[in-house]
Amino acid sequence: MGKRTKNLGRFQRDWSRQVGLTLFIIAVSVAVDIRNPRFFSVVNLSDMISNTAILSILAIGMMIVIITAGIDLSIASTMALSGMVTALTVQANRGLSPMLALLIGLAVGVLCGGVISVFVVRFSVAPIIATLGFMNAYRGLTYLVSHSNWVGPGQMSNGFMMIARGKILGINNLVIIAMLLYLLAFYFLNYTRFGRQIYAVGSNAESAKVSGINTNHVLFTVYVIMGAFAGLAGVLWVSKFASAQGDTALGYEMNVIAACVLGGVSLRGGSGKLSGVLLGSLLLGILNDALPLIDVSPFWQSAIQGAIILVAVISNVFFKRRVEYKTLARRNI
């Protein structure tokens, strides 16, 4: 009996967010489907999932950063920069292999993340400030390298645009890339020493240091990883929408942070799960997809999205309080 209730308590603590989110997603989907049966069609679902792929990729990186009690506001600018640099390269030599294009974007992202790392780790600038500064700087740089022009579909090679549009075994490339990254991140976070060190640094940097973890090394790597994800996502974004502009993905960092927060990643650091983040991004993706389907005017979308985030975090607080209250009550007996 004792063990069972204990296990139940642990289950509630660890998985309540995921269960709640899943229920919420199901409820929203069913409600939307009743209004418009097209929602559950294969075409719509696959569209929706491939639209969510980029968000969910970025959410992995952001989750890792937030676990270390940091934050990265610069990712949208990094995406724009890497997308622009890649698009310009493709424009200059059409024959460039798509793989190489991805690598270029990745390299730009790593570089951007590395610079931020130096400021955060070496000069101990608060992450929110460092990334706020470089958000401006990278955005400016994007305009600068492109001379405020934009690269349209006419100037891109077909192979490049196929990165995001092609399919393997009937599944969109974006979805496959996202799935691979999730598997990789799952292994990395849960089964490698370094992954566990990230959680350790996030929950208590001091004790992590005392127990022999090189916290600087961990932090440095985390921002570089985030940069790499943003760089990759930038290329995917440009390939998907077939245009690279100065204001690509402007303000997208807030969506990514919202996905993490919905998924139960605590901004205080130390906690967060990939399953939660995936569900969080899916929920945002469903909202984006479903609202137009049920004829909600596009002008209502961001108000609804904001309200849902707020309701979700508040109801989570209520739930947590109840669990805590119950655990306390059990202890008193």
């Binding site: 929110i128 500064g133 700087a137 605590s266 901004l267 904001g306």
Partner: protein, 335 residues
């Protein structure tokens, strides 16, 4: 090592070195440097009228900087201010255009909407302490702008009364009206932070929230007041911004929140809370404002301005730490 007298009284004795090594003096130096730089690159800069009227271009955002100092001093953050500006301006426009209220009433409504938005933030943040303020204001940021979009769609509003233009374009003598208002507001906020019990309590909460709770400070009430004040000042910024633009749209004031935070941090207020001064933030407003103005005078593209300001923010905050990380011992002593 602190001197013996300092240890006993707990007060540091005056030293010129320490006095001039303060962040604010560095800011003053930076301000002078920016002015010299401006004067060097453009012969048109050193003209009193030019300098004064250039302040019209950036001071609307600065009204948010003042309360943001308080928010960040608490160790918290409010990123919904830009959206609050948009919402209150849009509501004002609608009331004036559609309901034909008198202009003064529309202005009051604008301020009230701003304060309400802030109050709503504050209530949620105080009531649900578990949620980080960043998350609360992130969702209200999306929500407020969303409501503004619902109200006005993709149109623009506001054929405001002629006198309304005076707010951003008018002069009192040779001094722009907005500069006068900002000066008054800055003095009030400075006094509030440095000369009242309220201000001392804000410092206390920022330094150690739990300790200040146990010493009887009503944390909830203070936070509520500060968030409401932030919303109210966003309403003020909305007035000046819509007066300058002559219209209201749902996408106005995007990025104002991050600009304001950048200026506050550049002004030496610690993002973790509890440290900094109002004067620093005010100097930072003018540094960035004049820098933008000067770069604009020589037709520097706005892209470069973005880069310069971003780097300025990152480097200026890094600067004191570069020196510090040289001697490890000093770091631990200060920590």
């Amino acid at each position: 090592m602190p001197k013996r007298k300092e240890l006993i009284t707990g007060r540091k004795s005056f030293s010129f070195k320490r006095f001039f090594l303060q962040w604010e003096w560095l800011l003053v130096l930076a301000f002078i440097a920016v002015n010299i730089f401006d004067a060097a690159i453009s012969p048109y800069f050193l003209d009193m009228n030019n300098i004064l009227s250039s302040t019209m271009n950036f001071l609307d955002n600065a009204f948010i900087v003042l309360p943001m100092v308080f928010v960040i001093m608490l160790g918290e953050i409010d990123i919904s201010v830009g959206s609050t500006v948009a919402l209150s301006a849009v509501v004002m426009g609608v009331f004036y255009d559609k309901f034909h209220t008198p202009m003064w009433l529309a202005v009051l409504i604008c301020l009230a909407v701003g304060a309400l938005c802030g109050l709503f933030n504050g209530m949620i943040i105080v009531k649900f302490k578990e949620i980080a303020p960043m998350i609360v204001t992130l969702s209200t940021m999306t929500m407020y702008r969303g409501i503004a979009q619902i109200i006005i769609r993709d149109q623009s509003g506001g054929n405001f009364a002629p006198w309304f233009k005076f707010l951003s374009w008018g002069y009192l003598g040779s001094i722009p009206f907005i500069l006068v208002v900002f000066a008054v507001a800055a003095v009030i906020f400075g006094l509030l932070l440095h000369k009242t019990n309220f201000g001392r309590r804000v410092y206390a909460i920022g330094n150690n929230e739990i300790a200040s709770l146990y010493s009887g400070i009503q944390i909830g009430r203070i936070k509520l007041i500060i968030y409401t004040l932030t919303g109210f000042m966003s309403g003020v910024a909305a007035l000046f911004l819509s007066s300058r633009m002559g219209s209201t749209r749902s996408d106005m004031a995007t990025g104002y929140e991050l600009n304001a935070i950048a200026m506050v941090v550049l002004g030496g207020v610690n993002i973790m809370g509890g440290r900094g001064r109002m004067i620093g933030a005010i100097i930072a407003v003018f540094i960035i404002g004049f820098l933008k103005y000067g770069l604009g005078l020589i037709n520097m593209s706005s892209q470069v301005v973005l880069i310069v300001i971003g780097l300025l923010l990152a480097v200026s905050v890094a600067l004191p730490n570069i020196k510090k990380s040289g001697g490890k011992q000093r770091k631990t002593e200060e920590a």
